[in-house]
Symmetry: C2
Subunit: 370 residues, 2 copies
Amino acid sequence: MDHFEVTYQLRLLSGETVEQKIEDLCLEQSAELPRRLLSRAIAERVTGKPGEPQKISDNHWRVSIQWPTDDIGDEITQLLNLLYGNISMKPGIRILDLSWDSLPSGLMNGPAWGIDRLREAFGTPRRALSSTALKPMGADAGTLGNDCYEFACGGIDVIKDDHGLANQHWAPFEERLKAGVEAVRRAADDAGHRARYFPNITSSASKTLERYRLAAETGADGALICPHLCGPETLHQLARTALPLPLIAHPAFSGALTGHPDSGFEPGFLCGGLWRALGADFVIYPNTGGRFNFSSDDCHSINAHARATEQPWPRSFPMPGGGIKFDTLPGWIEEYGRDITFLIGGGLYDHPKGIRYAAREFTELLQDQR
Amino acid sequence: MDHFEVTYQLRLLSGETVEQKIEDLCLEQSAELPRRLLSRAIAERVTGKPGEPQKISDNHWRVSIQWPTDDIGDEITQLLNLLYGNISMKPGIRILDLSWDSLPSGLMNGPAWGIDRLREAFGTPRRALSSTALKPMGADAGTLGNDCYEFACGGIDVIKDDHGLANQHWAPFEERLKAGVEAVRRAADDAGHRARYFPNITSSASKTLERYRLAAETGADGALICPHLCGPETLHQLARTALPLPLIAHPAFSGALTGHPDSGFEPGFLCGGLWRALGADFVIYPNTGGRFNFSSDDCHSINAHARATEQPWPRSFPMPGGGIKFDTLPGWIEEYGRDITFLIGGGLYDHPKGIRYAAREFTELLQDQR
């Protein structure tokens, strides 16, 4: 029988023993019945088989559990259910890692592009990439297109829609898409740098697929989606289409899963591991020191998971956003390495000489580190 | 300009002021730029307009914010993004309520059936309803069908698949569906009580829709979905189909949103408010005193939200599961009222005289309270 392994961190509540908590987890996420009510055959067939737990501190333990791959059937939703369905409602359980290479083949495929193919397509063999966001919500498509043109002339590599730009009447999806595509092409003619435009296509699963097709047909260079808004499996479906566009995964609505140290998902596992497995070529995360609550360890862990060579698929670009200023950028490159895409959004809008100049200052700092 | 209102509970971190935290929220969830970078027109058009904050305790405040309905466009995903997209990654913000009746008309429609129509269809005008789950994962479709038959003969009103029964090879969806449908019909002929069978149709959004159609065609009486696995909007899409089946919403994968008192969603808002708005006729939640971490207040709040008559759509059946025993059932009816569906799963499998007898004992207790 084939198995895959999930590694958990457990915090014991008053009165709990580690054996009890593990036994409970192995049953809750499979048979959902007490062991004494299961036949030996069913218990063997579906329940998790724990390894030896390791004590980390007084109340914290780490344990790996082998799960029958048959429990998943052929569905990502059921993998997510097995990982964190009912136990999401139990305190003190955090998921740290998964043995991606022992999942059923074809269940997930990882990114269609990944770092190496993207570097080739972009003609940027070594340096860190630059990225920014078109905003604010409420601006019309013409204004957003102009900003896109300015950023592109300034040398930005990846220009994405803000994830709050959906289909509001000020800049409906289709209009915005056309404006962005046209802007990066015109900038390439005028300024010689071909920026890539990634519209936000997040909607219901079916509309996300529609917008993806429209984006590809219209000539967009990629697309941004929020997997926790449109359903994580949508990311996988997009990455599997013929002639796929590179995909950026955005963390909107996912923070409850990573924000509490004793529950949910370790950020590296979620953003660097799961989104990559589902097909994200870029994974956005809130950089430490910015306006969100990710620690330096969280960020390093996301980078490590996104770029781990042991995983059975191409590597994803980590895309830290927030907390990055021009004078700290060389330090971040030093710290995170060059296989990274820096996202500076609001910071570029706040430059006395305008956004094209701000973009140029940003991208020249990356050229220096070529 | 039309607005809708969201009520938040804020916990101030060291160094934060309530004004600052509110201003940050109003910008983060709309323009995502500092106010000084926004034109007056854009600020007026998209940012949240807060009311007067109320102090609840030393560090806790409550505030209502008016959001322009135009910020949503025409999409549930963008409503969820506005509610809890980026701020899901910021500590100390919890969503308590939403003015459902001021959302754009047609954005959400609530349950297609609701308590009153279901009572009429089921022929149960007053009493509390009974419900159970087919399990365990690993059993074949024939065994699950037999259990379904036994439960139906025992008088259970709603027999649902366990949410872990997906499309595993032991009991593939289609086989299981047929066995369940056949079982409740045969039991009606043999024992005179027509139980309702609700298969679990949770999968990717598109496969969920496919299974829903198949369930309706095969003669299922309803369907169970986990909105946080297949994407919340899928629930809405199902509830809007022609000749819709009643829908049960299951909380799998949602626990990170409700399990922390200073962040995420108040359980009544999520399970009783949002799932109802999206179209759930029944909302499952882990009853207090069971194996999950919901408090008595949480449960009462879910009941209140699910049955509130101020909301612009039919009422949903609260469906508490866990922590309910035969001898405590009369007390729960007293406490929760009769507009409720009690879910006893594992408890019925653990009866010395078998599941049909257990079901009969369960359902007779509800008849007594007619």
